[in-house]
Symmetry: C2
Subunit: 129 residues, 2 copies
């Protein structure tokens, strides 16, 4: 993958590349690894949303951290920020088309979670004994 993005052969052929330090995959796995990214993206799924509403949906996140996350996602082109020149201020965050496209693989993860989390939890219980 780091050497050939358009590689057309099977999964095994590119499996090693993801492990190379300069592989673009690290970008993705690095970003989704950040604690709040996924939640913000999922929270934005219904549509454009104001800061406070977003914060409420995400839950316990502090404004500082939410802002940091949003800036990062903006920088990645996954989220757009639109400020209206009003008083009181009004700002709307939304997923960009690129950001919306991430919903699909995230959905795959969620589907996996729904299907298999019970097994994982059972395994964890067993591990404790």
């Amino acid at each position: 993958m780091s050497t050939s993005l358009l590689d057309e052969d099977g999964a095994h052929a590119t499996a090693m590349d993801v492990l190379s330090p300069d592989c673009p995959s690290r970008v993705v796995f690095g970003r989704i690894g950040e604690r709040w990214t996924m939640f913000v993206i999922l929270a934005l799924e219904p549509g454009p949303m104001r800061f406070t509403a977003l914060k409420a949906r995400v839950g316990v996140v502090t404004p500082k951290v939410l802002t940091e996350t949003l800036r990062a996602l903006e920088g990645d082109g996954l989220v757009s920020r639109r400020a209206f020149d009003e008083s009181p201020p009004r700002v709307e965050y939304a997923l960009t088309p690129l950001g919306r496209s991430l919903l699909e693989p995230i959905a795959a993860m969620r589907a996996w979670a729904e299907a298999h989390v019970p097994e994982v939890l059972a395994s964890r219980d067993r591990a404790l004994s």
Copy 2:
């Protein structure tokens, strides 16, 4: 999702649940958030592997961290550990069926990365100016 795993309606209906503190999704997103999980799983894709070989595939990881990661994945039932009573010692790690099933959503992420990482990187460049 936290309230109804078998919910059959659309994505929007369950979008909020993932944000609840007790949602099982957190288990997944929490685990994949750990820095080395994905890499270990991907590294194990080809088949059973010894500690040192695994370490070499994953790259720069230290033995301590690799061990921690493996123990966690073992606890989750995603990876199995098999020790042969020989000298020198020999241990083989492998994906369990459950662990192998995780390869699918991971593949979706990788596919997304392959398709869109250039856009993300371009956006980051723009953000720096």
